[in-house]
Amino acid sequence: MALLEGRRLSKRFGGVQALTEVDFAVEAGAIVGLIGPNGAGKTTLFNIVAGALPPGEGQVVFDGWPITGKPAFRICRRGIARTFQVTRPFGEMTCLENVAVAIVNRRPDLGRAAWGPMAMEYLEAVGLGALAETAAKHLNVIQKKRLEIARALATEPKLLMLDEVLGGLNTQEIQEAVGFIRDLRDTRGLTVFWIEHVMGAIMQAAEKVIVLDQGRVLMVGTPKAVVADERVISAYLGT
């Protein structure tokens, strides 16, 4: 059964039709890639699922619950965590506190003594342990992306939605990151829904890829099938 399902989602911004009747499904325990050219509507789709944007038409169902139009914090507490394409750290707060925000809203009973070490674990998991007491505004782009992931993980989600987390990494780093994400699925049982332009990474990790183009689903298939598809090539290369 699908953990997350979207039915006939549409969204307009003034004159721009960002999504048109999009149907999609993300199966529990899977890594599902979402690709498509710039402006195809990928981030918009994420925003609607996560409640950051009011939906246009259509429905989103998560774990059997309709979550369409619910406020972002409720969706988060239901078990969906997301990262932002342009990172949004709490600049004036330390990395540790950034992660703590995610923890204390899940477990209000915890005091600093309890959440401190927990937050530290998440930071260490993404390799930011040494920067725990640094204000987030001092991080570089890549560190900020890691912090986003740590914060997302700290909400203890069932579904993790990643929006272009590999941008700016070199080949070596991409390999490590892909390993890390697969690990999340394998050891923590997370489902991952992942927007990425770095096709190589999606090819390696995803079981299924959804391709969006101009707000419509162009095709759905295995990574292999997708990159071989004429329509996809033309959408990307623009013949």
């Binding site: 721009v16 710039n38 402006g39 700016g168 770095v198 990159v227 990307y236 290369l237 623009g238």
Partner: protein, 233 residues
Amino acid sequence: MFKIENLDVFRGETQVLWGVGLEVAPGERVAILGSNGAGKSSLMAAITGLLRPRRGNIIFNDRALVGLKPYQITQLGIALVPEGRRVYKGMSVRENLEMGAFVRRGRPRLKESIERVFGLFPILGQRSAQGAGTLSGGEQQMLAIGRALMSLPDLLLIDELSLGLAPRVTKEIYAALASLGSEITVILVEQNVELALRHSERAYIVESGRVTGHGVSTELIDDPDIRRAYLGM
């Protein structure tokens, strides 16, 4: 005519460009390629003065641009078509174009320029009194380009021309641009690699805020590395 040397750019506390350098000859069309977040838009922002570089030089027609304000740079003859078009939605098409001609060099030839833009994009002529917010995405892109041309720039910067546009519309706009010939120098930012290379003479590749390669477009288009990097094939 245009040269960037060793440019370091920060957004807030975060560095987004490292030692970027490039060079453009008069009348040339140069493409900047790179994946999301590579720093292409930041480069545009630095050239136009929206971001102030920490180090490095930008030279345009023998003038150093670093430290100048955007409005001063525009007055010197550089126009940007920004990512996401950013037309003035509450103003009519004509008023948008007039705003483009705000600069000193543009105003005296306002009427003439408007005619030229309407010639380039006839649909804008038909919609001249319509509010820009009600235009389709493609029309807005045409308007954004038209507005940039209104300032009679020597150098035109276009960020993500094809973003969110149907291929047919994209083609139309590129055709219109091509018809301008070599009277304007163009720097083109584009994620659609093939389109970019096809409509440029040379290209620079930006990755993670660094220039990692450059070459003649017709050669790059067949480069297997490029194809692999951008399609994962």
